[in-house]
């Protein structure tokens, strides 16, 4: 925050010199966005900083008003003691497996479904599409029991696929992608057809490269949703060996006695860091793909 307000103030003496005034204006004109973005970035960062700081405090320090914001000494022992509560390593592998498989499955199904809804004509298309949209409107909790019964009949209860199978199709993703496909000029696919492409090749060579931003946006939403999902994995799994990270976090948020904050925050750091890391690594690619696209 202080940086943002300082930038113009520091330049003010220079502004009294008439000759330099345009340059000051130019700097401001080119960088005003930073002045707006910086406080926002700090605001966005503050919960993360708070999580990190709390995870390094002692239990008493969290509530002692005289203790101040920073921990007196860094208590790294919260991390090992959090890890000892549950097999977080196994949970991490499972979370990656579940979230990854869901995303992979979804990308295949929504691409094919969205193409069909956007570019093909077949009987009952509108009715089917309405049904897809209905699925978006049902809260997931409303269909827990029926999903559970189905999975039990498939013999999947208490297995990793139980957390994946109900989510491999996505009404929301299909809708999102269909809208993007419809914005692709028909001339492009017509040209591809003249060149001898079938449906799959058109989809592969024409549509998918053009809707990459949508795919990435959907991917982010899907990964975040399923990475953080708690209730469904809790319901369909029993064995520790196949459970996911949020269930480990649940162990630290106690109902009867108030949460064990330092360890809960240490656990939260462990749970969110893979996602943050992923974002930092792929950040450039995410943003590039939003910038360089043929479709607006």
């Amino acid at each position: 925050m202080s940086d943002a307000t300082l930038t113009p103030a520091a330049d003010r003496p220079a502004a009294t010199v008439p000759a330099r005034r345009p340059r000051w204006r130019k700097t401001l004109r080119e960088n005003w966005l930073h002045a707006v973005m910086l406080p926002l970035a700090l605001l966005w960062l503050s919960p993360l900083v708070w999580i990190l700081v709390t995870s390094l405090k002692t239990q008493t320090e969290v509530f002692d008003q005289s203790a101040g914001f920073w921990p007196a000494s860094l208590t790294f022992s919260n991390y090992p003691s959090t890890l000892s509560v549950a097999p977080f390593g196994t949970y991490l592998v499972n979370s990656v497996l579940v979230t990854g498989s869901i995303l992979a499955g979804q990308l295949v199904t929504i691409t094919l479904a969205a193409y069909a809804f956007a570019r093909l004509s077949f009987p009952g298309k509108n009715l089917l599409f309405t049904l897809f949209l209905l699925q978006v409107m049902f809260p997931i909790y409303a269909i827990f029991l029926t999903n559970f019964v189905t999975l039990r009949e498939m013999g999947l209860v208490n297995t990793i696929p139980a957390m994946i199978v109900p989510f491999v199709a996505s009404g929301y993703g299909t809708f999102m992608l269909r809208q993007s496909f419809r914005q692709v000029p028909a001339e492009l696919s017509d040209a591809a057809r003249l060149d001898g492409c079938g449906h799959l090749s058109i989809l592969w060579h024409v549509y998918l490269p053009l809707v990459k931003p949508t795919l990435i946006a959907f991917g982010i939403i899907s990964v975040v949703t399923h990475w953080n999902d708690y209730m469904w994995p809790l319901l369909v799994t029993n064995s520790e060996g196949i459970r996911t990270l949020p269930i480990g976090l649940g162990l630290l948020a106690k109902a009867d006695s108030g949460a064990d904050w330092p360890r809960l925050m240490a656990g939260t750091t462990i749970v969110v860091s893979p996602l943050l890391l992923l974002f930092v690594i792929f950040q450039r690619r995410f943003i590039d793909s939003f910038m360089h696209t043929g479709v607006k």
Binding site: T159, L208, G250, L251, S257
Partner: protein, 433 residues
């Protein structure tokens, strides 16, 4: 437009897509083969208090499995009390309940309504359960004189107070009656002009209906029967009017949250707190001041209702499983295990003999506060065991919240909540036939 890089990306994407079904089929293969001669039991439990419950339970189960041939218990962590109930009801819905589970005691009528519980009265009578369990705890699993569970992790609300704040305000012991409570709360409230520095009293939100039932009991009323709630009785209305009076006097917080209220107490933003005995260890060890524990003040008598839960055994399973389940429930509640569990968690041991154990005596010498809660159990009973208790709780909480916020008069709020709840209970009973 671009090099081959995007193509490789796509190929990798495709490969991942193709791999999904295979990857997801793997854990099925990994599921261990089931042996035929051992009885396998599933036990679903929630995590209610601080301390590594997960580890403690796992160790107990490992010990049980090691010492009992032919029985193998699998402990399944099932989230909060609500989550646990949902998980059990879902399994009941598909006809494959766990052998045992540990819900909150209020859900007794809910599970009885589903015809899910095994009657264990005869086994308990043949054993020492009726002699050795502390009466108030045993009662939480009794309906129509029959026993449906073994109390395992009982708790009651108690009054926690900040001893330093009491000394500062020139107060001696904790208040014993409602009137003393209000006087103390007023003396402990600190305001700086309009800004509030410290509340005199906070009643832990989220479970304030539980505390409210305690107030009704202190005023001589058990505010429910097996098929209806009685919140519109004068005793209950009087209790809510007392809360309103304290809020109007500015010495009691009109609303709070469960964890927030505990945090406020530890941070010194409230001098007295109604909270569960389950919080004792956390409050005691995390507060930077000395924490006092007292009975909830009385009106006509002391009174409290039981939180926490009993271990229940499923009806819909083979006799071999039922027998093994009884052995397990009996083992979890035996003298030594209850003493160890109580020390580790802050829950109250359910057996009289547990409190006589030398290590328990030593614990009481170190933490005399623990004994207060145990003694209060004498004046306590089960908590709101009506069908549709969850809806009933929501109705009552909303009535209390609206009253304290000044939107509605205590009598009108409680009358409406009672009528709504009783209608809902009748609806549920009709549906169950």
């Amino acid at each position: 437009m671009k090099s081959t890089k995007p193509n490789m990306m796509r190929r990798r994407l495709l490969a991942t897509g193709l791999a999904a079904p295979f990857v997801s089929a793997m854990p099925g293969i990994l599921t261990p083969a089931r042996a035929n001669d051992t009885v396998k039991l599933q036990f679903m439990y929630p995590v209610g208090v601080s301390g590594d419950i997960n580890t403690i339970i796992s160790n107990m189960i490992a010990e049980f499995n090691a010492t009992h041939d032919g029985v193998e218990v699998e402990a399944i962590y099932a989230g909060s009390y609500d989550n646990t109930e949902q998980k059990v009801i879902t399994s009941l819905g598909v006809g494959e309940p766990p052998a045992l589970w540990l819900p909150i005691n209020s859900s007794l009528q809910t599970f009885l309504g589903l015809d899910a519980l095994e009657d264990i009265t005869e086994q308990a009578k043949a054993d020492d359960i009726y002699d050795d369990f502390i009466g108030g705890f045993l009662d939480t699993a009794v309906s129509d004189g029959r026993l449906y569970g073994l109390s395992y992790q009982p708790s009651t609300p108690v009054l926690y107070y900040n001893k330093d704040a009491f000394a500062e305000a020139g107060l001696g012991d904790a208040p014993v009656t409602w009137d003393e409570l209000m006087t103390a709360a007023q003396a402990l409230t600190i305001r700086d002009g309009d800004a509030l520095k410290r509340w005199g009293l906070t009643i832990g939100g989220g479970w304030h209906d539980w505390m409210f039932e305690g107030y009704c009991r202190q005023n001589g009323l058990v505010p429910w029967e097996a098929d209806k709630v009685l919140w519109d009785r004068p005793e209950a209305i009087e209790a809510l009017e007392f809360w309103k009076k304290m809020v109007d006097a500015g010495c009691m917080a009109p609303a709070s949250t469960w964890q927030g209220s505990a945090n406020d107490f530890m941070a010194g933003s409230t001098a007295m707190l109604y909270h569960s005995t389950g919080s004792l260890t956390n409050l005691r060890t995390s507060s930077p001041f000395e924490v006092g524990v007292a009975f909830m003040p009385k009106r006509k008598q002391f009174g409290a209702s039981q939180g926490g839960g009993p271990i229940m055994i499923a009806k819909n399973q083979s006799d071999a499983k039922k027998e093994a389940a009884w052995t397990f429930a009996r083992w979890m509640t035996n003298t030594e295990n209850q003493a160890a569990w109580s020390r580790a968690t802050g829950y109250l041991a359910v057996r009289k003999s547990s409190w006589q154990q030398p290590e328990m005596q030593q614990y009481l010498a170190e933490v005399p506060q623990a004994e207060v809660a145990m003694k209060q159990a004498e004046y306590s009973g089960a908590f709101l065991q009506v069908p549709a208790y969850s809806r009933a709780r929501d109705n009552l909480k909303s009535a209390i919240d609206r009253t304290l916020a000044g939107e509605i008069a205590p009598e009108a709020a409680l009358t409406t909540a009672t009528a709504d709840t009783n209608r809902e209970i009748q609806r549920v009973q009709r549906r169950q036939g």
